[in-house]
């Protein structure tokens, strides 16, 4: 019933995308499309949430006579799918609401509207698919529709490059997943997930499939070193699409990983966790350090997505390690932490991208060095962005802290792991997690402080005004959800129990009956967190402070020029900029990781020429991995180019030779 309704909404989204094609350039098309997607995603959200909360343990199956004739299209709605559908459609609802206002400013609605609906349909389909063919089809559909959205403003500088890199990485990811499913399906071609689940592969095949899944899903999710397309593609798309790509599509990729590795691969080996933990740790720290070096607000947010995907991957890796060792309760704790962070990141990253969209709506700028002081003309946007920034910086009592706290708790039980390799790896990963959490706070002090505080750095920032009610409603709705999930983490953890029960065979103790909505993941003597009590405590002490200050203190307030140690400078250019805010951290961490070099050219005394500061940062992953790879592909293509100009005789002999070789191979194989 629920599954059929979900497929119905997906079909409606697809139909909407097609029907709007001829109308897309008309003015009323935009509110129509966004209004309809809002409604459809809302329906899907309600169905998914209901399934997760009330019938989490059961699953619904459906086979439609579509796709490959002897296979059909399999769909399945189980707890894991329901949770990710919740994330996808929550993102869809908020992005559509935001776009009701934001979409009016779109210069090329014909390039956005049809693909927007198709993109939402594709993400829903990936999560619902229950055979390899449907899954890969939906995956490609999602990739291509989002690619089209990235290319919406194809004439802007850099967009074509972004689209090319994205397309290349997306194809690579799909190729890896194709091979992974091929390995899982085995020689008899059992492409339905049910069949794969029933016949798990041997250890070698499973290990290979795991590596392919890490590469395939990791390239979509943005795991280092497969991340370079994120900071290019996410900023190039319109902001509601950036929010969906960063907040939701990376989660769909992680869904693919969880589905393959936790559900289809059978019992894990302990070493499976190693690549996941290592890449997760690298992503966390490199993502946030790169984010700190950015001047472009949306690029900063995209790099921060790399960091958060890394944090989620760390949780998943820990869960794999525990599951391989047979410590089910710890595996479920780590998986709960990872999935909780999936939800949280989709909430605050969407919120922050909406905030950057609102800034672009008001100023048409996303270079932070040309913004500043926006808290005065846009106080509401500033407040919502501040909540998102605090949540992503893991400040209590917001939601980012709750999931990070759970991840820390699962690291703290990992001395129980018997493998020596993991005993050295896990504390290092814990240190990296702590480091990236602290760096994330620095990063979002920068993002908020340079964009919204200080004095305006350009005329456009000076003349900004508050955005419309739809955009504000979307941002405030997400901010409220961030607070709610932080105050009542137990509700989310309980909702995740059927998911972890299905995937790890255990779940975190039920939180519902605990006093004061406390969160107790293992036992109360070990650790407990209560966002609600903490929030009340903070609120009470703030109230006491306010009352005391109100009673005792002088009420006089005088406005005067800034003090600045007696040397205020009228020019807003003397403020700290995005680059200068990052300078201490660049100097501390960047000299190694980015080989950061500063060259200062000082004119001689008396010379009126300006002094110059040149900064050089290197991206080692791009320089050492992608450039040689790109060069290699180019050279091979040059060599193969000769094959285009052969005579017919040579072509025939080539075909004959290949046939002989293949037959020989077959003969040897048998």
């Amino acid at each position: 019933m629920g599954l059929a309704a979900l497929l119905g909404t997906v079909a409606a989204l697809l139909a909407l995308g097609i029907l709007v094609l001829p109308l897309a350039h008309r003015r009323p098309a935009s509110p129509l499309v966004y209004g309809t997607t809002l409604m459809l995603c809302g329906i899907a959200l309600v169905i998914a949430t209901r399934h997760l909360l009330t019938r989490g343990a059961s699953a619904e199956d459906l086979v439609l006579p579509l796709g490959i004739p002897w296979l059909g299209a399999h769909f399945r709605l189980d707890a894991l799918a329901a949770f990710f559908l919740l994330v996808v459609n929550l993102g869809g609802v908020s992005a559509s609401l935001f776009s009701l206002g934001y979409g009016r400013h779109e210069s090329a609605p014909g390039r956005v509207l049809p693909f927007y609906a198709a993109f939402l349909a594709g993400m829903n389909l990936v999560v619902l698919a229950a055979d390899a063919f449907t899954f890969l089809l939906a995956w490609e559909f999602m990739s291509l529709s989002s690619w089209a959205l990235v290319m919406a403003h194809h004439k802007e500088p850099g967009t074509a490059h972004a689209g090319f890199v994205y397309l290349a990485m997306a194809s690579f990811g799909t190729l890896c997943l194709l091979l992974a499913f091929g390995l899982l399906a085995g020689p008899q071609g059992a492409y339905a997930f049910d069949q794969m689940r029933a016949h798990p592969p041997g250890p070698v095949i499973a290990g290979l499939a795991l590596l392919l899944a890490v590469l395939g899903a990791g390239s979509k999710a943005g795991l280092v070193p497969l991340h370079p397309w994120l900071p290019l593609a996410h900023p190039a798309a319109p902001s509601q699409v950036s929010a969906l790509m960063s907040g939701v599509m990376t989660k769909v990729a992680l869904y693919g990983f969880v589905r393959i590795v936790f559900d289809l691969l059978g019992p894990p080996e302990w070493w499976w966790s190693v690549p996941v933990l290592v890449l997760g740790g690298l992503s966390a720290v490199l993502g946030v350090l790169n984010a700190l070096m950015q001047n472009d607000l949306k690029r900063l947010l995209a790099y921060s997505t790399v960091e958060n995907v890394g944090i989620i991957a760390i949780g998943l890796g820990l869960s794999l390690a525990f599951r391989a060792t047979g410590i089910g309760w710890a595996a479920s704790l780590a998986l709960t932490a990872a999935l909780f962070h999936v939800l949280n990141h989709s909430l605050f990253k969407s919120l922050l991208f909406f905030g950057s969209g609102a800034v672009m709506m008001a100023t048409d700028e996303r270079d932070m060095d040309r913004l500043g002081g926006l808290i005065h003309p846009m106080p509401l946007t500033a407040f919502a962005f501040l909540v998102g920034a605090a949540a992503i910086s893991a400040l209590p009592p917001l939601n980012g802290f709750a999931s990070e706290w759970l991840t820390f708790q699962s690291i703290l039980v990992s001395p129980q792991l018997p493998q020596w390799g993991l005993r050295f790896l896990v504390p290092a990963v814990g240190a990296i997690l702590a480091l990236s959490a602290a760096l994330a706070a620095a990063c979002f002090v920068k993002a908020f402080g340079i964009t919204f505080l200080g004095r305006p750095r350009s005329a456009r920032a000076q003349g900004a005004s508050e955005v419309d009610a739809f955009a504000l409603a979307a941002m405030f709705g997400l901010a409220a959800l961030c607070l709610a999930a932080g105050l009542m983490p137990g509700v989310v953890v309980d909702a995740l129990a059927p998911v972890t029960q299905a995937l790890t065979g255990a779940h975190v103790p039920v939180q519902r009956g605990l006093a004061w909505l406390s969160l107790v993941p293992i036992a109360e003597s070990r650790s407990a967190y209560n966002g609600l009590v903490l929030f009340t405590f903070i609120a009470l002490s703030t109230l006491a402070t306010v009352v005391a200050i109100h009673r005792l203190a002088s009420h006089a307030v005088r406005r005067g020029p800034a003090w600045d140690c007696g040397f205020p400078d009228a020019s807003p250019a003397t403020q700290y900029s995005a680059g200068s805010f990052g300078q201490p951290i660049r100097r501390t961490f960047g000299t190694i990781i980015f080989a950061a070099r500063e060259h200062i050219t000082m004119p001689l005394p008396g010379d009126p020429a300006p002094a110059r500061l040149e900064l050089q940062l290197r991206d080692f992953i791009w320089n050492w991995l992608y450039q040689p790879l790109g060069g290699l592909v180019g050279r091979v293509a040059d060599l193969l180019n000769h094959l285009q100009f052969l005579t017919i005789r040579k072509y025939l002999s080539l075909v004959f030779g290949v046939l002989i070789v293949l037959l020989l191979l077959l003969a040897v194989w048998r």
């Binding site: 605090a390 690291i411 407990a528 209560n530 405590f537 800034a562 600045d564 805010f581």
Partner: protein, 318 residues
């Protein structure tokens, strides 16, 4: 009945830390002055300063936003709550069950987040220099602190501060390498977090190396009073934390008589005095570092913390 008693103890703790914090600051200043053969201000001077600031009018920069006026309240209450969660005279605190050591670290992080934003709000170069440097220091100090938390939690099998303190009182603890490493690291972090001398100078203005003072340069009147009080509370918090973890003796536990609590308070006062004295001696005997040497100092703290954690992963007995 038990709930009322727990609430009274928690309330007493909330008020005690607030009342003692300026005294600790005054004590450190007094000892420092005596060590420099000055007479120094009276012990109660910080209270007088706070009262004076509260009574003065607040001068705000023309373009200061609402965040600038709200931030002192956020900073003060976050640090106050954090300080109220560290056991001082009584091991058991009722709100301690809602917030473990990781939460206390995160609360201090929240206060820093808002302080750094307030430094950027007016848009002056001094505010920016303070904020950016503070976040750089925090990027090393916070993970170092968390590694210390990991070490202690792995040893005690709990992240609750009260359980850690109980474990440290207990007979099983003994002398351990990881404990020594984390003690050194925690002292280093405490010095950096409180802007004390090898890292920052609390008594400086108009210096290009200042960090904390640069951020609060634009504050005056009641706002400055709250920030000053918050700084005192933070110093008290770190001294209490060191005392609760490494010298946990004398604290009263649940069900003991009133006399035990009074004794606990007296012992706590003695610990504070000793901690403040040690800080003053340390500060007068060492010079301030260049700002970019601080990252090496804190990097060492982070490595010590990581090493301590690693040792515990290798063997429970190290």
């Amino acid at each position: 009945m038990a709930l009322t008693r727990d609430l009274i103890i928690q309330g007493a703790q909330v008020l005690l830390v607030l009342a003692l914090a300026p005294l600790l600051t005054g004590w450190v200043r007094k000892v420092k002055a005596r060590l420099l053969r000055r007479r120094g201000p009276p012990l109660l001077q910080p209270y007088r300063e706070l009262l004076r600031l509260i009574r003065k009018e607040a001068v705000l920069a023309e373009n200061a936003s609402w965040l600038f006026r709200v931030a002192p309240y956020m900073i003060f209450s976050a640090i106050w709550v954090a300080a109220a969660l560290v056991p001082t005279f009584s091991i058991q605190l009722i709100f301690g069950r809602a917030a473990d050591l990781i939460v206390i670290v995160a609360l201090l992080g929240s206060a820093r987040f808002f302080l750094a934003l307030a430094g950027l709000d007016v848009g002056t170069s001094f505010g920016g220099i303070g904020s950016s440097r503070e976040m750089m220091l925090a990027a090393l100090a916070e993970p170092a602190m968390l590694m210390i938390v990991f070490t202690l939690s792995l040893m005690a099998g709990s992240t609750q501060l009260s359980s850690i303190a109980e474990y440290m009182i207990g007979p099983t603890v003994g002398i351990r390498i990881s404990l020594a490493l984390s003690a050194v690291a925690l002292i280093m972090v405490a010095l950096a977090e409180n802007a004390r001398i090898p890292v920052d100078n609390p008594a400086t203005h108009l210096e290009l190396t200042m960090v904390h003072e640069a951020m609060v340069l634009e504050y005056s009147g009641r706002h400055l009073a709250m920030i000053e009080a918050a700084s005192s509370l933070k110093l008290l918090l770190y001294v209490s934390l060191l005392a609760a973890i490494f010298t946990p003796w004398g604290m009263a536990s649940t069900g003991q008589s009133l006399a035990a609590y009074l004794l606990g308070a007296a012992v706590y006062a003695a610990k504070l005095a000793a901690g403040g004295f040690a800080l003053a001696v340390f500060e007068t005997s060492i010079a301030k570092m260049r700002v970019f040497r601080v990252s090496q100092f804190l990097g060492a703290a982070l490595m010590l913390g990581l090493l301590a954690t690693l040792l515990l992963f290798v063997s429970r007995n190290l």
